[in-house]
């Protein structure tokens, strides 16, 4: 059988960066093919070439056995290639139907296209379990459904090959399961799926074949059934990695953070955090699990002083933080690694040394009086980079040019470096490669062992389970319960879905 996609000798450079080195890859029709690799391994570049965002310097693309010139995403779509991006390309105020038709209106009037799209959507919903209300406003849909709209868009345009870039990063475990069922059905109908991901477990569960990339090279393509997580992880990073963090028992001391009856409301006056109370002690990590969007972000921002609580108390060693602002929260000893590092954690248009003082730019040692001296600013950045193994260790490089993992290390170095009493961390390893994940986890455990109090919010249940000493599960703004780390995944999953199942 001819392969659906063949990439032959693809080579691509960006300036001095050799992003793809002579990559040759063949993807069988009607299969699910995973591509794994660290950040910066070249997966996204390769897929961008296939989808026409970039043009390869060398190499050929063949679609269904025939040479194809893919110069733009329109070419790719014409060849039956569809892509679901990590960050969705949807018009939020439009309905599902309008989004699906967007760019495929076929004429001046939109009516006929909408009618056609409606019946097509019904068929797709039947065939692939892709149920979405065609008249719902996309912006009001949960992330999982928005992703389905993206898949529908691609299928509506006649995609035979579907590329999914980190599709489960934003999904709940249930939504992810559903996604994989959908992918399975697509495969059964003869479609080809390319899955780009960091998550080896998903690769093992969902794919038929898997290719590993490292530093622009395609190292190996294996049948998933013939390989193991450990083997893939080793291929990816080139050495054995610890998937489970080693840690001793916690030695909790006195209470550092005490949250009492906290209520945080959004602009529409809806309680996003609904009457929450908990403690965090010295030397322990309290993990807050939950599907994203259930109030964890608001809780973190309230502690950090960014959002003002509607009522309740946030006490840090006796100081009430409820009325404070982020500057005061920092002065009192709170360090905050924000959930969305591109959005809040650093300024991508600043060089690394300037991002490395964000929030701490009033430190007296960075310059006398009103001045901000370059020498101490750069020195501090260099020190943080050395300590956290940031690559490249160049304080003058633009923050945007670091990979996700290295950006996160810059932020961690900044926040941990100020010797805080309490560290609040949101999604510390989202979009971070395995090598950096291990490093970041180790640093968090070290901090705990130095007697710091840590609040960890993550949508990765694995991360919560391997790092936390206690787990709180949030659902719809409230804490559903506290569990210890030995609680099995299924029970936590139920709590995350709002189902309380007290152990009998």
């Amino acid at each position: 059988m001819t392969p659906a996609i063949e990439l032959i000798g693809i080579d691509k450079r960006f300036g001095s960066v050799h992003a793809n080195k002579n990559v040759t890859l063949s993807i069988g029709k009607g299969s699910i093919h995973g591509i794994v690799g660290e950040n910066g391994a070249g997966k996204s570049t390769l897929m961008s070439i296939l989808f026409g965002f970039y043009t390869a310097d060398k190499g050929d693309i063949r679609v269904a056995g025939r040479a194809a010139r893919v110069k733009s995403s329109a070419d790719a779509i014409a060849h039956g290639i569809g892509m679901v991006h990590q960050h969705f390309m949807l018009v939020e105020p439009f309905t599902v139907l309008e989004n699906v038709v967007l760019g495929a209106e076929n004429g001046v009037l939109i009516g006929p296209a909408l009618t056609k799209a409606r019946s097509e959507l019904e068929r797709l919903a039947r065939d692939y379990e892709l149920d979405v209300d065609p008249d719902a406003i996309v912006g009001s849909l949960p992330v999982g459904l928005q992703q389905r709209v993206e898949i529908l868009k691609a299928l509506f345009r006649g995609a035979e090959v579907l590329i999914l870039d980190e599709p489960t990063g934003v999904l709940t475990p249930n939504e992810a399961d559903h996604l994989f069922r959908i992918l399975g059905q697509l495969k059964d109908q003869g479609k080809t799926v390319i899955l780009i991901t960091h998550k080896l477990r998903e690769i093992m569960a969902a794919t038929d074949h898997v290719s590993v990339m490292r530093r622009g090279e395609l190292l190996a393509t294996k049948r998933t059934a013939d390989t193991t997580i450990e083997e893939l992880a080793e291929l990816m990073v080139g050495r054995r990695v610890l998937l489970r963090v080693k840690k001793g028992p916690a030695k909790p001391g006195k209470v550092v953070l005490n949250v009492e009856n906290l209520i945080v409301k959004d602009r529409q006056d809806v309680a996003r955090v609904n009457n929450i109370s908990f403690n965090v002690r010295e030397g322990e990590i309290v993990g807050i699990a939950g599907v994203s969007g259930n109030g964890q972000s608001e809780l973190l921002e309230a502690i950090a002083g960014i959002q003002k609580p509607a009522s309740g108390r946030i006490m840090l060693e006796g100081h009430d933080l409820a009325a404070s602002d982020p500057a005061e929260a920092r002065r009192l000893g709170i360090a905050h690694v924000p959930e969305n590092r591109q959005h809040r954690g650093l300024v991508t248009s600043f060089d690394a040394s300037e991002s490395a003082i964000l929030g701490w730019h009033n430190d007296p040692e960075l310059g006398r009086g009103f001045r901000l001296d370059r020498v101490p600013v750069i020195a501090r950045c260099k020190q943080g980079m050395a300590e956290f193994d940031v690559r490249p260790a160049d304080p003058l490089l633009l923050s945007a040019k670091f990979s996700g993992g290295n950006q996160q290390k810059i932020i961690l170095a900044r926040e941990i470096g100020r010797d805080p009493k309490l560290l609040i961390v949101g999604q510390p390893t989202r979009g971070v490669d395995i090598g950096a994940v291990e490093f970041i986890h180790r640093r968090l455990i070290e901090l705990r062992d130095q007697g710091k109090a840590i609040v960890l919010v993550s949508v990765e249940l694995d991360e919560i389970r391997s790092l936390s000493d206690r787990i709180l599960v949030m659902f719809d703004g409230a804490i559903m319960g506290e569990r210890d780390v030995l609680t099995d995944e299924r029970e936590l999953g139920c709590l995350m879905a709002g189902v309380i199942r007290e152990a009998a």
């Binding site: 960006f14 001095s16 910066g40 391994a41 002083g305 905050h336 954690g345 730019h361 001045r371």
Partner: protein, 364 residues
């Protein structure tokens, strides 16, 4: 990994692209001149000779450049805070009021005392006029583009009223104040006489040094102080600024006060340096030219000074050209200036895609 498309070496960005854009602007302008029936090369020669061919030309060029530097810096500092200050024109105009109030009201004070006071008054009045839109933006969310435009009109009407009803000497027909005699910026001709050098009579005065100091000062503020860091953070990423404990509303107001103060300095050049009296419409559109200057100078003080000099050249050379070639009217000069703005501002990035392969390949 995936670096932004069309990454170019820094020198291409700084030198090649602006030069290419300028050349294209001149080529298109040349076509316009041909259509009128004049020789474009001759016109270019007159333009350049008129601006940089004599000391007098240079004097005018630098005088215009002084105005545009102040207004360009004013727009640039607001840009860095993520604000679009279109109100330079009104802020300059109101700053003239400061010059008039101090220059005429405190004229009994000696020169070394009254001149600095008058300069400070210009800055304070310009800043004060910028404060109201800034406050409305920061606290009420009124869009600063709209409010500053409206404040230009209010300033224009207010100044007509004030000059006619307050400053105009009784019985005088001309709509202008009486002469400011004490708070006066020495002209280059006077400075030359002190030094025993004979310089041509041009509007160039000591304010040009103030413009250089202002450019350096703004650079220092933005890149070497904590306040400048906060301003740039708010402009680059408001969410990150809030995370960092910076209050955007406070920075919006401060940045606009600085912006208005810088715009106000143009009144020093015009009122204290050249006119020596409060006159109508003395801002003459320089507040708007400042937007083009800031765009072209990429909001960097060095770029702003260079762009201001380019516009000074076009203003002065253009005036000479319209004298020498009656077929090329003032309006044609405006068209040529417009083309320069179009190619260097609006189409600044248009030729990058063509340049990218030329330079990126070489490096790889």
């Amino acid at each position: 990994m995936a670096s932004p498309r069309g990454e170019l070496p820094a020198w291409v960005d700084i030198a090649v692209i602006p030069l290419l854009n300028l050349t294209l602007a001149l080529l298109v302008a040349g076509l316009v001149v041909i259509v009128i029936g004049e020789s474009p090369l001759e016109a270019l020669g007159i333009l350049l000779n008129g601006a940089v061919g004599s000391l007098k030309g240079w004097g005018y060029l630098l005088y215009y450049a002084t105005n545009f530097t102040f207004t360009g810096l004013a727009v640039a500092v607001a840009f860095h805070a993520g604000l679009f200050n279109i109100g330079g024109e009104g802020q300059i105009y109101i700053a003239g009021l400061g010059a008039g109030v101090v220059g005429l009201g405190l004229s009994i004070l000696p020169w070394p005392l009254v001149l600095p006071l008058a300069i400070l008054a210009c800055m304070a009045f310009g800043a004060g006029w910028a404060f109201i839109p800034a406050y409305l933006q920061a606290k009420r969310g009124s869009h600063i583009v709209i409010t500053t435009i409206m404040f230009n009109y209010i300033a224009a009407s207010l100044m007509v009223y004030v000059i006619i009803n307050v400053f105009r000497p009784v019985g005088r027909m001309a709509v202008e104040s009486r002469e400011i005699t004490s708070a006066v910026m020495p002209s280059f001709r006077e400075i030359g006489l002190w030094l025993g050098i004979k310089l041509p009579n041009t509007p160039l005065n000591a304010t040009v040094f103030l413009a250089v100091i202002a450019a350096w000062g703004l650079w220092y503020l933005l890149w070497r102080t904590r306040l400048g860091y906060e301003i740039r953070t708010v402009g680059a990423n408001v969410d990150a600024a809030i995370y960092a404990g910076i209050r955007p509303s406070r920075i919006i107001i401060i940045a606009m006060l600085i912006s208005g103060g810088l715009a106000g300095l143009m009144a020093v050049n015009e009122i204290l340096g050249v006119q020596h009296r409060l006159v109508l419409e003395f801002a003459g559109g320089a507040g708007f030219v400042g937007i083009a200057v800031a765009l072209m100078g990429r909001s960097h003080p060095v770029g702003v000074v260079l762009a201001a000099m380019l516009f000074g050249l076009l203003y002065q050379g253009g005036t000479e050209l319209s004298f020498a070639k009656p077929a090329i009217t003032r309006e044609m000069i405006v068209v040529i200036q417009g083309l320069v703005i179009l190619f260097m501002g609006a189409l600044e990035q248009a030729f990058r895609p063509w340049l990218a392969p030329l330079f990126v390949r070489q490096e790889a």
